[in-house]
Symmetry: C2
Subunit: 142 residues, 2 copies
Amino acid sequence: MSLPSRLEKMCLDKGLQMTGPRRVIAAVLSEFADHPDVEQVHQRAVLLDKNISIATVYRTVRLFEEAGILERHDFREGKARYEEVPLQHHDHLIDLKTNAIIEFQDEQIERIQKEIAQKFGYTSVDHRLELYGIPAENSEKK
Amino acid sequence: MSLPSRLEKMCLDKGLQMTGPRRVIAAVLSEFADHPDVEQVHQRAVLLDKNISIATVYRTVRLFEEAGILERHDFREGKARYEEVPLQHHDHLIDLKTNAIIEFQDEQIERIQKEIAQKFGYTSVDHRLELYGIPAENSEKK
DNA sequence: TTATATGCAAAGCTTTTGCGCTGGC
DNA sequence: GCCAGCGCAAAAGCTTTGCATATAA
């Protein structure tokens, strides 16, 4: 918790003021490779600094998202989940049985998406692709 | 407003009890080809029956969604939007400048999505693909 | 020092729910 | 007549915000 996290470095690149709470929240988000919701981020942050309030977590993840260093996801649960902007873009496959989240990349899909936007006269600035699946019967379970 | 809407027929097929409010909400959702949120559905329903409450609209769209005759969308506005389950599946391109919603279909993407799920040992039961774009000429100007 | 960030609590928004009454079947 | 559905209002769940204080630069 003393070394600056990858996210903290990105904050500095963006010229964000690095306060105590922001450093802790950045560290927490860098450390975990899952997709925590705000309450989970807060719970983890409080372990490092028990004074951090949930309001600050909300303000900070919004700030980080607007700075382009965090991605917000909504997996249809009525609340947001966050992850570091990944080095390489990926989409998500959600296991409806276990709620596991599997990340994947597909060049073809990325290319076709751009083409579709172009076809309608748009420049694609963002997209969201989520697959919802159940374990196939005839393959081994994880 | 006296003829049964397409949605009302689908309700009957599913064995849902057709009350006054449900008939009105089904008609309203069948009549408009856009993607109204719950408040808009309610506003339109009230024109036909001023006693319909927003609670009933919430209950009804949830019922319809669970019956598989309505699709719920979340276009990152913090509230749900609904549309009739379409005759042919389509995805959405959202114009970030005007909030226009453009529907499109792409066979290739559908096929690749199934393949990806398979590759990870899943059967794809649902997916969500949204493209967010800005008009191409605008992006040139900036 | 001075602007910005924080903590706390209150409020905002969308959505759900408890309850007594209404109305389809 | 019964039981599901309805309207109303209250509440739940997530998120934002006003304000006084604390802190980074």
